[in-house]
């Protein structure tokens, strides 16, 4: 990640939203203990969910984008944000993998419009929902649906300090074992995507007696094929395996390809 420039006393932050549920930017407001401290260290110049007025005025030292690119306007918007920003961070499954709305990429977009909207011809949207990094260079992608508050704080702090964020690309199993959680896949043969899913959530699903459903997307070197083979052995149908890999990060390469193998 490039260094955060320090030409102004406080770095200027812009928070932007594309197609999304707002949950990831809400995470910023969920930093109840740190929000005011953050406000002292960063000049939050654009964050429509929390501050007025709503017109962005760049340039930004750090821009944070939530949401996927799913309309022609958003295609232009990400270019403008990139032009106006020194460091560009994308947060959440939508911004980093297209989000759940990328399920449209596997279906017929016109059908989807017809199902939801009475007058589909009025809907201006792209046939695909794609991650921001497909359109402009991104300095760091923070994963998760939703992102983890601690990781967001680490990302922002690392940015301010000029260090590499201590955000690991390991599997959920690492967190599961560190947090002393009993593996639900081994004890209950529950389908669990933890072994191929990017860490960050704190392994909450196994802690709550359910298998990981992959909302942080694939880890690096995600060995989805042997895991899917094991799921088949354990009685899961191809259809169920396809659905499992095709959810919040369906458009990420490893999960997309695995879901397609079970079509």
């Amino acid at each position: 990640m490039p260094d955060t420039p320090t030409h102004s006393p406080r770095p200027r932050l812009g928070v932007f939203k594309l197609a999304s549920c707002d949950g990831c930017q809400l995470t910023l407001l969920d930093c109840e203990d740190e929000l005011l401290l953050l406000g002292e260290q960063i000049d939050i110049v654009h964050f429509p969910e929390a501050t007025s007025p709503g017109q962005p005025s760049g340039p930004f030292d750090v821009a944070i984008i939530e949401g996927s690119v799913s309309t022609p306007e958003q295609q232009d918007e990400v270019q403008a944000i990139r032009r106006n920003s020194t460091v560009l961070l994308t947060i959440g499954a939508c911004a980093t993998s297209g989000g759940i709305q990328a399920l449209r990429n596997f279906g017929d977009h016109d059908d989807y419009r017809r199902i939801v909207y009475a007058q589909p011809e009025y809907i201006s949207s792209l046939a695909t929902s794609t991650p921001v990094a497909n359109h402009v260079p991104v300095d760091f992608e923070l994963r998760g649906c939703p992102i983890n508050k601690q990781q967001l704080l680490e990302l922002i702090t690392a940015c301010l300090r000029g260090r590499t964020p201590a955000i690991k690309n390991e599997s959920v199993c690492f967190e599961c074992k560190r947090n002393d959680i009993v593996c639900v896949a081994v004890t209950q043969q529950m389908p669990c995507l933890g072994p191929v899913t990017h860490a960050g959530c704190g392994a909450i699903c196994p802690a709550f007696n359910r298998g990981c459903f992959g909302c942080y997307g694939p880890k690096e070197s995600a060995a989805t094929a042997p895991l899917a083979a094991q799921m088949l052995t354990n009685g899961q149908s191809d259809e169920a395996i396809k659905r499992a890999f095709r959810l919040f990060t369906a458009e990420s390469e490893a999960f997309r390809e695995e879901s397609q193998r079970h079509e």
Partner: protein, 440 residues
């Protein structure tokens, strides 16, 4: 923030990006010779097609999927979804599970209302652009709100694993239930937050409100408790109640004169308001005694007909949610079973709960194969949208006497009083087609 165009006595009030609301919207109010010629709450949030891709997903995936409609009130979506699905599957969660769900829902109300009251709405009354700016002069106030918000989030995290998109809600119950000790650990913070909430009622009630009483039709869930996670009937002020399953028969989409947008109205063409005001006006007697006392002390006269006063109503509901959460924790013993089992069957069923912003109705058609065949979801902001536009028309005469910026701000504040959740509304915009296509 706003532009003024005065062309032959025509005035336009608009904000191109509404702030301190969830999602992306704008409003546009055109007045000519004291007559409103156009009132639009435009929503340009990108569509996400939830109802389409819910098709052919498994029943057990629905709570996870619908949560992603809204990061602010995911629990509400999960609650309405499991209500509808359980109705269809013939599953009745145990009373212990219902209590736990109510507790979880309290967490979301606390979180969402504290967010709105302190971080989004209060800056309007005190004249700041944001809570962060407000904190410079009113640090205690903002910290009080953040503390309350944190207590609500902690409750959601304890029951649901995380504050946003919790993971433990499933058809028939929870994936697992907490130990009593885990909930008791939250008690102190909730009790402190309750005291803060009571103070908040007093503080909000003392604010100055624009004079804007409207003759609303109020719609909310009916239940023998203050409505949150449960209720089988929907009440319409002035005309009575009907079963939740008949919601789609009682609501309809019509054209309104000033807009080509399709909006949600009752069958008689009436715009209506759902949310805190509707709930309080109908159910104030069912408030927790602590909340009733706070309400009485506040001097707020019922029924509330001024949307600017909704900040007081939310504060009262905050008291209610915190007091009830404490009661539920005190009464809690960890249930034997975290969930009841079910077998898939073909069915169509509705379920409704009270999201922080108002009535949230889900309808699912399920197949024997355990897959969803059809989904309809009506979020509160879609329902309130026509009412918001109507309110903008109604407030127009007051704007004439104000400086343009003040007038625009009054409009924005009015919209904000509804705590609109555009992210939610947008995915179901049968209600407002034209506006979606209107970005400039």
């Amino acid at each position: 923030m706003s532009d003024e165009h005065t062309v032959s006595g025509e005035k336009t009030y608009k904000v191109d990006l509404l702030t301190r609301v969830e999602g992306e919207g704008r409003f546009h109010l055109k007045v000519k010779d004291n007559q409103v010629i156009e009132s639009k709450l435009n929503i340009f949030e990108a569509p996400r097609y939830f109802e389409a891709f819910l098709r052919d997903r498994a029943i057990e995936e629905v709570p996870d999927i619908v949560a992603r409609i809204c990061g602010i009130c995911p629990v509400a979506y999960q609650m309405s979804a499991v209500r509808a699905l359980e109705n269809g599957l013939g599953v009745t969660p145990s009373s212990a599970i219902r209590a736990l769900r109510r507790l979880l829902y309290c967490g979301e109300w606390i979180e969402s209302h504290a967010l709105h009251v302190f971080l989004l709405h209060a800056p309007d009354f005190l004249g700041y652009d944001s809570a962060m700016a407000m904190a410079v002069d009113h640090k205690d106030l903002v910290e009080r709100g953040l503390k309350m918000k944190k207590a609500g989030n902690a409750l959601i995290e304890c029951l649901g694993g995380r504050a946003i998109h919790p993971i433990s809600i499933r058809v028939g119950g929870f994936t697992t239930t907490p130990r009593a000790s885990a909930l008791n650990a939250l008690r102190d913070d909730l009790a402190n937050a309750l005291q803060d909430a009571i103070d908040t009622v007093t503080w909000t009630a003392a604010l100055t409100f624009p004079d804007f009483n409207q003759a609303y039709t109020f719609v909310c869930l009916d239940h023998d408790q203050y409505p949150l996670e449960w209720g089988d009937a929907i009440h319409v002020s002035g005309s009575g109640r009907f079963p939740v399953e008949e919601f789609f028969d009682h609501s309809q989409e019509t054209h309104v004169a000033h807009s080509t947008a399709l909006q949600s109205h009752l069958r008689d063409g009436q715009t209506y308001l759902c949310g805190p005001m509707a709930r309080l006006n109908r159910h104030h007697e069912r408030l927790h005694p602590t909340a009733r006392t706070a309400l009485a002390k506040s001097g707020l006269s019922l029924p509330v007909h001024n949307p600017y006063q909704s900040i007081v109503v939310r504060a009262v509901e905050l008291v209610h949610a915190l007091a009830e959460a404490l009661d539920l924790i005190d009464a809690y013993t960890q249930p034997e079973a975290a969930f009841s089992d079910y077998s898939p069957r073909a069915a169509t069923a509705c379920g409704a709960t009270e999201a922080p912003r108002g009535l949230l109705v889900h309808r699912y058609q399920m197949g024997e194969d355990g897959l969803i065949k059809h989904a309809d979801i009506v979020p509160p902001t879609s329902q309130n949208q026509a009412q918001i536009e109507a309110d903008l028309v109604s407030i127009a005469p007051q704007l004439m006497a104000l400086a343009h910026n003040d007038a625009t701000h009054l409009c924005e504040q009015l919209i904000r009083a509804y705590d609109p959740c555009i992210s939610c509304a947008t995915h179901f915009l049968k209600l407002n087609i034209e506006n979606v296509n209107a970005p400039s």
